[in-house]
């Protein structure tokens, strides 16, 4: 029977091609706009590391001598002295100190490839395990490499692509500023969205291209101030790098992975204890107030998941509503024009339910067509967005299969929902009065 209804639906849609086209286009435009904005918003707000996000915490220490912001809001970064102390703990499953520098890199033996200036992530050795970074070749550096400030690097797939032609470059060297560094690992595609381990301003920027040990940055005294959040509430003794390291300047992001509540409590006690020790030495003048900020709270507190994108979705949804209401009036007109057929079908034995089924299928076909066309519109919309916001992570502008499915579903369900009234109206009419109009 459903096949019969399907056949009738196609016949009916072919009978009024312009009306059909209008309805499909109406749904497609509304769906396209909604799904374009929804995709961006969804991608911004989805959990970037779902199996671990509950165990990741950003360490925040109140080493200041005045209130930073609202009473319990602290900087996202901590001082180098504290990093050194925290790295000694073996409570966390993983912990990582993060810095960032900018440098020029290029090939040693291939002058045809131009050097490029890249943002380099500096990190302690747990980085790759902690954030589940996938490798194509080789691996990250060891703790010992870190301690030795080894001149080693991990390249992103993209960097390896232009620098080494995409070959397995493990063991090969390249220019890192004036020095030569050895590649020890090449990443597979890794585009966490948002880039949650970053400072909020960079959360939707492109992934890093090069990674080197944190200590290598320290030993070589690399510093790119525009890439870090250097909160120097107390001036360092002088302008030297050594002075920065012993200063109160807070510029290092510090993440820990704590497997359970017990570890978390223990680690909280550990950092509080550290603060007390430092207080005894004259630091931490104001209070002992240190935070382990869960990743999810960090994302919302920092408004990395912004309300603007949600607003856009609401606006688009309103637009969809207008499209659907328009479509609904077309549906009513369509079914009014079919009154004669409905009356006849009722006369030869179709029940109200049979009529409802027949037209529900017709509307599903329209909804499906609208959904598929809407998908195309959404893709175009996302391409346009990716063009306009080229500095943003391209992953934001991509629909996953779940979103593809929901787009089509949304189109079908909403056309049925808005067809409900026209359909029931048509099925409830007295067959005798409908018959007069055939």
């Amino acid at each position: 029977m459903y096949f019969y209804y399907f056949k009738l639906a196609l016949l009916s849609l072919r009978k009024t091609p312009l009306l059909t086209l209008l309805m499909v286009a109406m749904i497609a435009i509304g769906i396209g706009a909604t799904m374009t904005t929804y995709t961006i918003s969804y991608m911004m707000s989805k959990d970037p590391i779902p199996n671990k996000s509950a165990n990741l915490y950003q360490v925040q220490l109140d080493s200041l001598n005045y209130e930073f912001a609202d009473n319990d809001i602290l900087p996202n970064t901590i001082a180098y002295q504290d990093v050194q102390a925290l790295l000694k703990s073996d409570i966390p499953k993983n912990h990582v100190a993060l810095g960032a520098i900018q440098t020029e890199i290029g090939p040693i033996d291939n002058p045809s490839i131009e050097r490029q200036t890249l943002e380099v992530r500096t990190a302690t050795s747990d980085f790759f395990a902690m954030f589940e970074v996938p490798f194509l070749h080789g691996g990250g550096w060891s703790e010992q490499d870190g301690k030795d400030a080894a001149q080693v690097a991990v390249l992103s797939k993209e960097t390896n692509g232009w620098l080494f032609n995409g070959e397995n470059s493990v063991g090969r060297t390249f220019y890192f500023g004036k020095d030569t560094y050895r590649v020890i690992g090449v990443l597979d595609d890794w585009n966490p969205l948002p880039k949650y381990y970053e400072l909020s301003y960079a959360a939707f920027k492109k992934p890093n291209g090069v990674f080197i040990p944190f200590n290598t940055q320290i030993k070589n005294e690399f510093l790119t101030l525009k890439l870090i959040s250097n909160y120097c509430w107390k001036e360092p003794d002088d302008q030297s790098f050594a002075a920065l390291l012993t200063s109160e300047c807070m510029w290092i992001i510090f993440w820990v992975e704590l497997s359970n509540a017990q570890d978390r409590d223990q680690y909280q006690a550990f950092i509080d204890n550290h603060a007390k020790e430092q207080q005894a030495l004259g630091r931490f003048p104001r209070r002992i107030f240190n935070k382990l900020l869960p990743l999810k709270e960090y994302l919302t507190d920092e408004e990395i998941v912004s309300d603007d994108s949600k607003m856009a979705v609401w606006l688009a949804a309103l637009f969809l509503l207008v499209c659907l209401l328009n479509c609904m009036s077309l549906m009513i007109a369509k079914f009014d024009a079919k009154a004669g057929e409905i009356g006849l079908r009722r006369a030869v034995g179709a029940s109200q339910n049979d009529i409802i089924k027949q037209f529900a299928i017709e509307l599903s076909v329209i909804g499906l067509a609208g959904g598929l066309l809407g998908l195309l519109f959404a893709k175009l919309g996302l391409m346009a967005a990716a063009n306009t916001y080229h500095y943003l992570h391209s992953g934001l502008m991509q629909m996953n299969s779940q979103l593809l499915m929901s787009t089509v579903m949304l189109a079908v369900v909403s056309s049925l929902l808005f067809g409900l009234y026209p359909i029931t109206k048509a099925s409830r009419m007295q067959p005798s009065s409908q018959l007069k109009s055939l």
């Binding site: 009722r346 006369a347 030869v348 034995g349 029940s351 109200q352 049979d354 007295q430 005798s432």
Partner: protein
């Protein structure tokens, strides 16, 4: 088979009440051929629609096969129309985008017959009206008389016990009308009851029973010489 007792029908539109049918009694047995005559607007179509469960009566009792139709749900009424009643309308009422085969198929689809059974019945009905050879044609490719034959094929494909025909020859010239009349008589001869509204007194006279409606009042007289 069909029993109406003090049945009446009033339409209420915008607080204006139209008494389309005043209370009347009528019983029709299986196999009868009944003509319904009367001036325009007298209530003939209304009577037929009530008889065919396309319209609800306002007062009185209407029993089909001994069952009170007022108790029927929409589903039951639909099933009844589907299995027991065949309609033939003045304007044929064929679906233009379906071919003749599919037009005749329509009531059978709601009957949940399998495709073999449907095919058998469709071909039988088309043969009976003499148009089996044109099953793949579309309604617009036929003359009016042929279209009405298809409508009759559609009405008989489900082997109903009664055919309700509302001026089936109203849109046809007298020669074609004759053909339709003889077709209906054949169908009646095979045992199917027929209730036919007509303007044509000569046609009406061919039935043994004639129901006359005037301003919603029913009266009945029986013919001496008649076909059934």
């Amino acid at each position: 088979m069909l029993k109406m007792k003090s049945l009446s029908k009033a339409f209420l539109t915008d607080a204006i009440k139209t008494q389309a049918l005043h209370p009347f009694d009528l019983t029709i047995e299986q196999g009868e051929f009944v003509s319904v005559i009367g001036p325009s607007g007298s209530g003939k179509t209304t009577f037929l629609n009530i008889a065919g469960l396309l319209e609800e009566h306002s007062d009185g009792l209407y029993e089909l096969d001994g069952k009170d139709v007022a108790q029927f749900t929409d589903k039951k009424k639909s099933a009844y129309r589907n299995e027991k009643i065949g309609f033939v309308f003045q304007s044929f009422n064929l679906i233009p985008e379906l071919n003749l085969y599919d037009n005749v198929d329509m009531p059978l689809r709601y009957r949940k017959f399998n495709s073999e059974e449907r095919h058998k019945r469709i071909m039988q009905a088309l043969e009976q009206v003499g148009l089996a050879g044109r099953k793949d044609h579309y309604p617009t490719q036929l003359s009016g008389g042929q279209q009405q034959r298809i409508a009759i094929a559609r009405a008989i494909a489900g082997t109903p016990s009664v055919i309700l025909a509302d001026e089936p020859t109203g849109n046809l010239d007298s020669k074609m009308a004759e053909g339709i009349m003889s077709l209906l008589k054949d169908i009646n001869a095979a045992g199917t009851s027929i209730i036919m509204v007509t303007h044509d007194n000569e046609q009406a006279a061919q039935a043994k029973r004639i129901v006359q409606i005037k301003d919603g009042h029913l009266s009945e007289y029986t013919q001496q010489k008649a076909i059934a």
